[in-house]
Structures are given as structure tokens and as C-alpha cells.
Symmetry: C2
Subunit: 458 residues, 2 copies
């Protein structure tokens, strides 16, 4: 299948859920969402708006109106800010192992297999299909250090229609990377990254930049100073997005302290890697100065609540970051996180915030058990998974809003496969969204669009 | 539909996952599971066992053999030890509210509606259908204080074929229960409970005790001493199961301390409510003495990890309880927990244990952040959701094992609706179970049996 980007204008009428920030949730019943031939939302009309009836009639006469049935809802597509694409085959396994065994005995050997382009192709097709079926319209991917299979991931996203930001991973530090899975030098990694950027932009059919390249130093421990310096310069020159891991765990945080005598964020900033288009995965051990640095640059954080519980030894101080108006979205962190569904990321963002707020150890007195200022609810989780991710990427996505790309999903909560049970006489619109966030599954998602293009349906 | 309990003998051939305790997981490839006309497992043959081929041939000749296809697996049915049936309509909502608003403004008014038998019937049919579709073959239910609708829940479980333990809730304390939703006196509540026990045993078709009554004081704060004393005497007289909440939250734990100058467990024990057939929901703030008391009585704990994160202010010290050989299973705690799926309970049991182990607050130094001795993995979670629940109830369920009831589910991991992605060349049998625990959904469950009877299929 070659990329087909041309669409006809259309409109959807039904209940829309969208958030314009962490505290402003909009539940618009009987909304009319109008999408033009570029896949851009040209209007979101409320039923008492002037022109609503005429617009409905216009689209209906053109055969371009879809009216949602009761129990169906439109939401912005999900933005997953942190996916390790090559780890897809080990999703949901090896989570019983300590980090070192997980990485050295499982993850690195698996990633090394992507020298085999056929294996890469098989995995990446499965992953992109799965994410679209789960309503993830935009994903920010770590691929591997293999040029060809990384580009193949970008090509597959383009073929399937997913909006994607893809990074060819750079990692050259012999002290921390195995011999069999390491860039041969800083220069080689920088040159390969520069080539990858050009190659992605030049992919046939990528004129609208549906797929973008990302400068991707794995994390400070995997990279020499020379590599980090070179990638920082490349970020400045190219204006590309940047992604890396930051202050993920006690070990990693301490490693950077010992090597650079400062926190990850400050070290990355010194290397020129903190920009408006940077997304830092995890960022659990940020201090106030680090948050100020990110705020000043407009850089984003990919909060990965699921993997926080497995590999981070701590939970990202999300509410504090939101109160300081940092750009934050959610990441599934496949396969450090076990689920490809952003619904699971939402749920775990809430449980993680509650754990940080109340604490968890009953042996500790209540007054000193939690930090008492960390709770979020479904509204913030929903924002993070949609508009928050779009804001972190500096792209007009993640909201059902005029001028934004129509990246969206349609849910059917009547699906017999699903556990969302709505009682019309008891549930308000926000109640319904809360029920969706807590219990919707892949089986409830019946259509997924990217830039107005239908990329999944069932 | 009237209960149909008669079945023909049959056998299933395929991969079986079952656990015989928290540390012994059995992955039996190409097993032959034989079930007699009473729904009891008469043999679980391995493919190199003497008689395996003959047995396969025998069942095949009789037309009684089902051979699983690749990607299909048999697991014991799930045992959900803590479900508030009347709260089903608010599942997945109101979780953004503080406990007091959740209880007084939402939960009590909702439970009071079950005076309306038609409403009760509508809700309970939906709930039991949903749980069977999610593979919950046994549920231990709190109903409400309404005699008729509580009995209707028992009747619906029997009609649908679910194994169930149902409690008519007793709550008479005017200081803690609202006027509109309270037993009129201790005597009235005790008499109603005694009548309910008789009524459940006498339900038409309940000769095999598929459905059992449970003595159910809501929790100490809701009950006067007179009521608790009377229900303790009734437990001794009747030999019935007992369920109540125990040391769930700081507030409740402190309330009991102030009223009885001892922990919940000791107070309940003094009232005669701690028996081999008692299941205590939550039990987060148990001390060593409490664990000794439960161990001595053989009483069980319903660990409800999901609601731990919302309403408990702490996480149950599960690993400690397992190391002391307490009987522990899992509870969804609908609707304090948001999911009817025991897969979600398994996942959250693991994340909760990791949170307790590592701690969660990055502002605290690593050495003092967690308790360092709480981690469990998918093996323990699987045991708790199946055999652990059966053991807590003192019933021969939750294992695929000779002499046990064939309460089981069949999963299909090829289902396009599911996120379990298996790579045959990379995944061992335990890997596959781990992937199932982490990513299986309702849509992967294609058949559910209780006592050999097919109660759900798709």
C-alpha cells in the first residue's frame, strides 16, 4: 500500500470529549466537527451555535456527514511520547527481572537483532498496527542503532498513516554498551543521525512531514561527551526534535552526578540538547532548578507511570510539574511499561499520583507517609494523553479544536467486548469520560483517524 | 432460563497454566484435562504420562474431546473475593472524590436504590454477565441491606451459573449510617441475616451449593456491638462464610482503635467473626499479632490493590502475609476499584508491591524510600487470583487439578481485539503466561466454565 493522503472534507456529529489544558475539560454533546481536505479541523460547532443546522444540512446533502450512534464518542487521538519500538516482542515479559538482567540479558540482545531487516519489518508492522488499533495516532519512537531498520520503521508508519517521530538511537560509550550493540564511534553515530534525518524527510509521500526524525542519544550513560556534543550541535543546526532518557532511576541519576557533577537536565542542557522540541523520558528525579531549565526552554517530559513502578524506584512528581506549567505528556515506555494502550498509561498516571500523595507503607505514620500534594484525576490524565502530548511536541494535535489536525478516535461503549458500562439516567458526560478512561479497551475503539485519514476501523 | 447443572463428561487438550501455591507455577503443554459429569476434574495428564494416548482416543471416539488451537490456553477461572454488587453502576466514576463524598453523596444513595427490585435485577444481570465474560467464575459479593434484592442477586448468579458467595449487608449503627440506609435494629439485622441464609440454601436448583450465603457486617464502624456479637454467634451456629472490611484506611483503623482500644482483627475475633471461612477485605494495617490471629484461625484476606491506591492511604503488605502463609486472594473491590477484570487486579497487585518495595517519592533518599521487602511478580499474582482465592474460601476451586471443580476459562491470544502478542520463537511458556497476565483483556476470553458447565462463550 502506498501512502494515500488525499481525503474529502467531512463532518461528524455527536458527543466530543477534548481538553484544552490540564484543568479545562470540554464535553460537547451533539457537536459538529468539520474537517477539510487537508485533514484540518475547520470548525467545532455546538448545537446552539449560529449556523449549526445549516452546516449539518450542508454536509448531509454532500453525503459527508457521519452521525454518531448513542454510546459512541469522539476523542482526540492519543499521543504516546515514549515507545521503544524494537522492544515490542518482549512487551509484558521479563518484568520479573532486575534492571540489569532486563537490559543486558534481554533488551540489548533483542535490540541487536534489528540488524535483520526482515525481523524488523515483521515487528514494526505488528507494533504500528497495534498502536493504531489502540488509538495512538502519534508515537515518538526509539528505534535501534541500525540505519536501515530504523528507516524501515519510519516508512511503515508512513505506509500505515500513523503520525510518528522516529529516532535512530545513538550510543557509543564502550563502558556502558555491549560490544555487539554499540556505535563504532561518536563521529559515526553523528553522521548516521544526520543521514537518518535527511532520509526520513525524503521518504516518498512524506511531504506533509507525517513522519519526523528525532535526534536520539539513548541516555547519558550510553554516550560519550563527544557524541552528546555533536548531537547537540546537530539539534541546533537541524531544528529537529530531540529525545533521550533523563533521571530515570537512582542508578542513572547517580551515574550522571558522578560523571558530570550535576543533574541530567543540566548536563543535557550544557550539551545543547534541551530545546523546545526536546522530550525527556521519565525525569523522575528533577529538582527545582531542573524544572526551571525545562520551563525556560519549553522542553517536554514524557511521564511513563507504568514503568515508574518497575524500573524507576520512584514516581515522577507530575502535579508539581503541572503547577509549574511544564509541558508534560504520557509515554507507554514499551516495553519497560507493559501496555500499548494509553488508557493504561492514564490509569497508572492516576494511581502513581495517588501513591505519591498518600504514600504506600502502612508501617509509616499517616502524617509522614505521603507528600500530600500529588493527586491528579482523570481530567489531567486525559489531557496528558492527548493535548499535553501535542503541546510537548509543539504540534497542533491532541485537541478537537479549530486549526488542529483531525487526529481522533471513535469509541463505541456498547461493544460487548468492553467493560465500560454506562447508565444513561445516572451518568453525566464527565462521568462517561471518567468511565472511559478507567475501563475502555482496544475493543471499544472502532475508528482511528490521522490528519483526517481513516487509518484503522473495525 | 432455569439452572441446568447436568453435563456430559468431556476433555480438553492443550496448554494449561495453573499454580499450586504462590511459588509453584505449572505450564503444562499439551495437557489432557478430563472432567466428569459432576464437573469435577478427574485427571490432568501430561503427554508423556502412561495412558495419555488412550485417554485422548477414548474422549475423541465419544465426541467429547476439544483440542485447543495454537494461541489458545486454559487457565483456572478467577476468584474475586470482594465485589460490591450494587456499586456496579458507578464503576469507574466518582474516583476523583474524597472518601466521605464518595460514600455519603454517591455510594450510600446508590445502594439505597436497591429497595427497587427492578433496578436491582437490571444491575445484577449486567454485573454477573460482565464478570463471567471477564473469566470470574467465583465472586464473593456484598449486596445491600435489602432482603429481596440481595436474594435476587443470589438467584441471578444461580441462573447464570456463576459460583457465588452472597452477603445481605448488616449495618445498624445510627452514628455512622444514614437514616435512609440502615437496619432498624441489631435484632432485625441478625434475624434478616439468618433468614437470608435459609433462603439462599433453599433457592430452587441450589442443591450443589453453587451459591452460598455470607454473614456480612459492613464493617465495625457501621455496626453496633450488639449486631457484631449476634452475627458472631450466627457464624458459629451456621458454619457460614463471613466477610467484612478490616483496617482499610487510616480513618477506619483509628475509629476502631478509639472504640475498642484494639485493632480491627482483634475486635472481630472477640466478636467471633474470625473463622476458617472468614474473608477480610483490605486488611492493610494488620500488625504481627493480627497476622498471627488470622493464621491461627485460617481466615483469609481479600487483597484489593486497585482500591488500595484510591481509598486506603496505603498498600497491603502482601509479601509479608504470604511469607507467614496467610490465606490471601484478590478482590476487585468494585466500585472502590475501577475494573471488573481480575487481570487488572493482578497487574495492580504487582505495581502495588513494587511501590511498597521501592517507595515512590523521589524526594526521599533511596535507602529509606521503600521497605525493600515487598516485591512480587506475575507468578504470585496469578496464584492469588486463582488458587489463592479458592484456598481463602476453603473450596476446591482455582486450580486445574484432580479433584477440583472445573472452573476455568479459555483464552485466545490470536484475538485481533487483544494486546497479547506472542512470538513463538522468543517466548517460553512462562513468558506467555506473563504476557497474558499483563495484557489479556476480556476480548481474549472465549469460554468460561463453572463446575464443568459452559457459562459464557463467544
Amino acid at each position: 500500500m502506498s501512502p494515500k493522503r488525499a481525503i474529502s472534507p467531512f463532518a461528524l456529529r455527536g458527543t466530543v470529549f477534548t481538553a484544552s489544558n490540564a484543568h479545562q475539560l470540554h464535553c460537547i454533546e451533539n457537536a459538529l466537527v468539520c474537517v477539510d481536505e487537508n485533514g484540518v479541523i475547520t470548525a467545532v460547532l455546538h448545537q446552539d451555535d449560529t449556523g449549526y443546522s445549516q452546516a449539518c444540512q450542508h454536509y448531509q446533502l454532500q453525503g459527508q456527514l457521519t452521525v454518531l450512534e448513542p454510546g459512541q464518542y469522539v476523542l482526540p487521538g492519543f499521543v504516546d511520547l515514549h515507545v521503544h519500538a524494537p522492544q515490542w516482542p518482549q512487551t509484558g515479559k521479563a518484568l520479573d527481572l532486575p534492571l540489569n538482567e532486563w537490559l543486558q540479558d534481554n533488551t540489548f540482545p533483542l535490540e541487536a537483532r534489528y540488524a535483520d531487516i526482515d525481523f524488523a519489518r515483521q515487528v514494526y508492522l505488528s507494533l504500528v498496527d497495534t498502536l493504531l488499533a489502540n488509538g495512538t495516532t502519534t508515537a515518538m519512537y526509539f528505534a535501534t542503532l541500525h540505519d536501515r531498520s530504523s528507516l524501515e520503521l519510519a516508512r511503515i508508519c508512513l505506509e500505515k498513516g500513523q503520525r510518528a517521530l522516529v529516532g535512530r538511537v545513538a550510543m557509543d560509550n564502550p563502558d556502558q554498551c555491549p560490544d555487539y550493540y554499540r556505535d563504532e564511534s561518536a563521529t559515526a553515530a553523528i553522521e548516521a543521525t544526520a543521514r537518518f534525518i535527511d532520509d526520513v524527510y525524503q521518504l516518498p509521500g512524506n511531504t506533509l512531514r507525517r513522519v519526523r526524525p528525532v535526534i536520539t542519544p539513548r541516555f547519558i550513560p550510553s554516550c560519550t561527551d563527544e557524541l552528546l556534543t555533536g548531537l547537540g550541535a546537530l539539534a541546533r543546526r537541524s531544528g529537529c526534535h530531540v529525545q533521550t532518557h533523563c533521571s530515570e532511576s537512582d542508578w542513572e541519576h547517580q551515574y550522571v552526578q558522578q560523571r558530570h557533577h550535576k543533574n541530567d537536565t543540566q548536563a543535557l542542557n550544557d550539551f545543547g540538547l534541551i530545546t523546545r522540541k526536546t522530550v525527556l523520558a521519565h525525569a523522575n528525579f528533577l529538582n527545582d532548578e531542573d524544572m526551571d531549565t525545562l520551563k525556560a526552554a519549553g522542553a517536554g517530559v514524557a511521564h511513563c507511570p507504568l514503568s515508574n513502578f518497575y524500573f524507576s524506584n520512584a514516581v515522577f512528581p507530575l502535579r508539581k510539574a503541572l503547577e509549574r506549567h511544564l509541558h508534560v505528556g504520557l509515554g507507554s515506555d514499551l516495553s519497560g511499561g507493559h501496555s500499548p494502550s494509553m488508557f493504561d498509561s492514564c490509569r497508572h498516571a492516576i494511581t502513581a499520583s495517588n501513591a505519591l500523595h498518600d504514600g504506600v507503607d502502612p508501617a509509616i505514620q499517616a502524617a509522614s507517609r505521603g507528600n500530600g500534594s500529588a493527586k491528579i484525576d482523570f481530567r489531567q490524565a486525559f489531557w496528558l494523553a492527548t493535548g499535553g502530548g501535542g503541546e510537548a511536541l509543539d504540534l497542533p494535535i491532541g485537541q478537537i479544536k479549530t486549526g488542529y489536525a483531525f487526529d481522533a478516535l471513535m469509541l463505541d461503549c456498547r461493544a460487548t467486548e468492553g467493560n465500560v458500562v454506562i447508565w444513561p439516567e445516572l451518568d453525566s458526560s464527565p462521568d462517561i469520560l471518567q468511565k472511559i478512561i478507567y475501563n475502555a479497551a482496544r475493543s471499544n475503539i472502532i475508528r482511528t483517524w490521522v490528519q483526517g485519514e481513516l487509518v484503522f476501523s473495525r
